[in-house]
């Protein structure tokens, strides 16, 4: 019974988002897509401990791949998701061959470089990608051949939410698997993993590729829902924001990734609407507060509160 509470809460959160933003389903959908991107980052950074500020590269690759696939080959949404996942995975594989040999700051710089290169390629290849104008003319077929993508975005939201739920379920299984345990091992001590005979390089590469595929799915969803792919998908800001959302929610915790994203996007949205000039201050204050008081992220809030209450009792005695 207890094992069901968290997944149910997450599903409820998804349903709640739908009703919280009835006139802005595009925004609710964007939140869910970001959750997928941040989940991919959580696998790579939170579990495997691979520092990256370039997760947007795979996201963008997935977006362009799904967009082009829909325009030129087949407009089926699920086929498009597979195209996006493959694009993200392939880019992660190719870049990962080099990246996974690096570590620390060098690695971070290289991940930023990969995203910048992708950005520039998409910018130059106007004939294919539409360059700075973006990739236009994406028209998706109905989901399952039944549900048309409507103007308000109802189909888009539930479609995205369904995909996010599947990704989440897959990751729950993955992080409990021997592979997932091994990633935590690599995160904790690569030397020790090597000394028990684990091929650390290939393990990290595999994690990077799986993370890339998931980021690609997130990108593909963006392309399908907004019917447009812009150069912004490769922007550094996106990768950086994804990392902030992850830190906010709690690294190495799947639920943390989901909660961090929802809270960040919501606060961002509300603060920006109420005070267009100072909203960044609100975001900054929130991140600072969490990092100071809840270093393990919002996901650790219940445990921290419990400790505070118990500690208070003991302190009073």
């Amino acid at each position: 019974m207890r094992n069901l509470i968290a997944p149910l809460a997450l599903i409820l959160l998804g349903v709640a988002l739908f009703f919280l933003f009835p006139y802005n389903l595009a925004f609710a959908t964007r939140i869910v897509i970001m959750v997928i991107l941040v989940l991919s980052l959580d696998l790579v950074l939170g579990y495997a401990g691979i520092p990256t500020l370039g997760q947007g590269a795979m996201y963008g690759a997935g977006a362009y791949a799904a967009g082009l696939f829909a325009i030129h080959i087949w407009a089926d949404p699920f086929a498009g998701l597979i195209a996006g996942a493959l694009a993200g995975a392939i880019l992660a594989l190719i870049s990962g061959f080099v990246l996974m040999r690096a570590s620390g700051l060098t690695l971070i710089m290289l991940t930023i470089a990969v995203a910048s290169i992708c950005h520039e390629i998409a910018n130059r290849a106007r004939g294919v990608t539409g360059g700075a104008d973006g990739l236009r003319g994406i028209r998706m077929d109905p989901v399952f051949g039944i549900f048309e993508f409507d103007f308000i975005g109802v189909t888009g939201y539930w479609y995205t939410f369904g995909v996010a739920a599947l990704v989440f379920a897959f990751l729950v299984i993955l992080v409990r698997s021997p592979f997932g345990l091994g990633l935590r091992g690599i995160h904790e001590s690569p030397d020790r993993m090597m000394a028990i005979g684990a091929p650390v390089y290939w393990r990290r590469l595999a994690a990077y590729v799986v993370g890339g595929a998931i980021a690609g799915i997130a990108g593909a969803l963006t392309a399908q829902i907004s019917q447009l792919v812009s150069l912004e998908t490769f922007a550094f800001a996106l990768s950086a924001e994804a990392m902030i959302m992850l830190i906010l929610g709690g690294m190495g915790r799947l639920y943390g990734a989901a909660i961090g994203t929802v809270v960040f996007m919501w606060v961002h949205h509300t603060a920006a609407a109420n005070d267009p000039f100072n909203w960044l201050f609100v975001i900054g204050a929130m991140v600072l507060a969490v990092v100071f008081f809840l270093p393990s992220g919002l996901i650790s809030l219940p445990a921290a509160v419990t400790r505070l209450i118990k500690g208070g009792r003991n302190g009073g005695a």
Partner: protein, 248 residues
Amino acid sequence: MAGLEVRGLTKNFGGLVVSEDIDFDLRPGDRKALIGPNGAGKSTFANLVTGILEPSSGTIHFDGRDIGRLGEARRVKLGIAKTFQVTTLFPKLTVRENLRLPVLERENRGFRMLRRADGDPKVEAEVEALMAQFDLSKLADRQVANLAYGQQRLVELALTLALKPRVLILDEPAAGVPSGETHLITDAIANLPANLAVLVIEHDMDLVFKVAQSIVVLVQGRILTEGTPREIAADAKVRELYLGGGHG
């Protein structure tokens, strides 16, 4: 030929020679110790044998197979395992998880993504047995970062044995362990499987004399002498080295 056979092993970093022309054998069931003053190249030798470092020249054979150029992970798969001078574990994982990982790796299941890591009763039984053997069962669900150092040392030993190695290299197993807990380590080493080949690198002479049948003395990257504990204790050059050099 069974066991480890090292011939003419040399390692230099630039002009600095840290291991020079080392000949060394380790057979199944051997209990050898490698001693020598600081900077003698003991850890370098261990790193050469386990594949963390690549030799400049010389050969390393294991069961007749040339392993001198194999990577670290490959050598572990062949059965050469080591513990580190400074305990190297997965600090935020529990004792149970720390022991589950090497068993899974040994069984080549590390890439399995869709099954539960704790889902195989055989693996779990083996983990339980290891914890029982090293008296760690009560600590099974504690993070190893929260254990006493001596206990962490035992976890590392258990973790290494989970690989079912045939050659075990212990790099200063008692280093940093409070003297009151050293007997835990000594007992654990004494209880290692009889056919395992064990090489202990150690400063602690008490421990060396308790566990080793044979002692190799390394000085400035070269083997000074090799002999039984009794011979080594009586050796004039060794005495001069240890007493004269202020080491103990």
